[in-house]
């Protein structure tokens, strides 16, 4: 049987299962901590840092922190909020994020966070990196311009034989997320959809499926990300 522990979120005491990931525990308590590289059900990575909170006064990522008895968490301070906004701005500046021509627009987590933080223009110069578009996979389109290197696809997508479909190449600011060209030849529509859904942005798309939800009915058209929770 699960043991329950007491922990504190923004000064209020809550109960959670011992060892639960802090982002999930907070969500269960109705408190929103923004995430990008994290995805429920796959191992956390701690890559994007947007979920940074103060734990006993020190910054730490909430997706990789497990709840223990007495954990004292501050989820939102003016400094944390502007730090998170800066992460969103950096991601917009370092890739080629042309929202008007992106199939994921309206349902993109990065865009939704930019709306949440009211980012009109990044404080950082746009880099306009030269990146490829891989349109030759039978079911998937990989647009490297939009990839934020969260690696959710690497951690989360495997074919029925257990083989990973995505892997990264190169390092640092050159890192690219590749699709295995052999495995990608023969994947089901369901797996292709799963890959598209796991990507927070429009870097993995199912072919022939773009723009199938009208403007106004996409995930974040009317409802801000995290709106169902307190922040």
């Amino acid at each position: 049987m699960a043991t329950f522990v007491k922990f504190t979120l923004d000064g209020k005491i809550y109960l959670s299962e011992d060892g639960a990931p802090l982002v999930e525990a907070a969500r269960a308590c109705g408190v929103f901590i923004p995430t990008l590289c994290n995805y429920t059900g796959i191992p956390p990575k701690g890559a994007c840092r947007i979920c940074t909170v103060l734990i006993n006064g020190l910054p730490a990522t909430a997706c990789t922190t497990k709840v223990v008895e007495g954990l004292n968490v501050q989820t939102s301070t003016p400094e944390l909020e502007s730090f998170r906004q800066a992460i969103v701005e950096i991601l917009f500046a370092e890739g080629n994020h042309l929202c008007p021509s992106c199939e994921k627009s309206g349902s993109c987590e990065l865009q939704a966070l930019a709306y949440r933080y009211r980012v009109t223009v990044p404080h950082f110069p746009y880099l306009f990196p030269r990146r490829d578009v891989e349109a030759w996979h039978p079911k998937l389109l990989k647009d490297h311009n939009r990839c934020i290197q969260c690696k959710r696809c690497i951690r989360g997508i495997r074919n029925p034989a257990g083989k990973a479909l995505f892997a990264f190449g190169k390092r640092g600011d050159r890192v690219v997320i590749n699709i295995d060209p052999v495995t990608s030849q023969n994947i089901s529509d369901a797996l292709a959809q799963q890959a598209m859904d796991i990507c927070p942005v429009g870097a993995i798309l199912r072919k022939g499926k773009g723009f199938d939800v009208p403007i106004g009915r996409r995930t974040y058209d009317r409802t801000p990300i995290g709106a169902e929770l307190r922040s």
Binding site: N96, L98, C102, V121, F128, R222
Partner: protein, 183 residues
């Protein structure tokens, strides 16, 4: 209250932002009670006739003429607003920013699949009367100081209206989630 003077320009844009402005519909009648237009495609005035209160810029800078126009607007307008994604970040024209200019022009005018082969050899246009194309498309704030940014492709008419009312009356812009969009 004397009417505020507005000027508008479309640089490397598609005129969609100007069209969205017109989508304020019958509020145009309220607007002309509040403002007067100086240089703008709306009235076809090609030159500034006076100093302006508000300059609205659609589009980024893709050629030298855009840069001169933008600098001129900065000099003539007290408040300068980047309207739409192209003005803010280059927008769709900036798709070419990752391709070297020479390659881009060669594809467009010499070797592209839609270039018709005629009797005369294809050339890259270079008439001195044509604006010189820049190495890449520049967001407006990389050329001059911009005071405000209205995102959207195009920005919703409601946002343009709300922003104009805020600028003209000096009140804070209430910005509902529904009009904060990048597409």
């Amino acid at each position: 209250m004397p009417k505020k003077i507005i000027a508008t320009a479309s640089l490397a844009g598609c005129f969609g932002c100007h069209m969205s402005f017109l989508d304020i519909d019958e509020r145009l009648l309220d607007l002309i009670e509040l403002v007067e237009f100086d240089k703008s495609p709306f009235n076809d005035l090609k030159e500034f006739s006076r100093a302006c209160d508000i300059g609205l810029i659609e589009g980024g800078c893709c050629n030298d003429e855009n840069v001169h126009t933008l600098i001129n607007f900065r000099q003539r307008c007290r408040v300068l607003v980047a309207v739409g994604e192209c003005a803010i970040m280059g927008g769709l024209p900036s798709l070419r920013n990752v391709i070297p200019l020479q390659e881009c022009l060669a594809e467009a005018y010499l070797h592209g699949p839609t270039v018709a082969g005629g009797a005369t050899p294809n050339v890259i246009p270079h008439d001195p009367d044509l604006p010189k194309i820049l190495d890449r498309v520049y967001p407006c704030h990389e050329i001059v100081k911009m005071d405000y940014f209205l995102p959207g492709c195009p920005p919703r008419a409601d946002l343009i209206w709300d922003a104009l009312v805020a600028l003209v009356t000096g009140q804070e812009l209430k910005w509902p989630y529904a009009t904060f969009k990048f597409d």
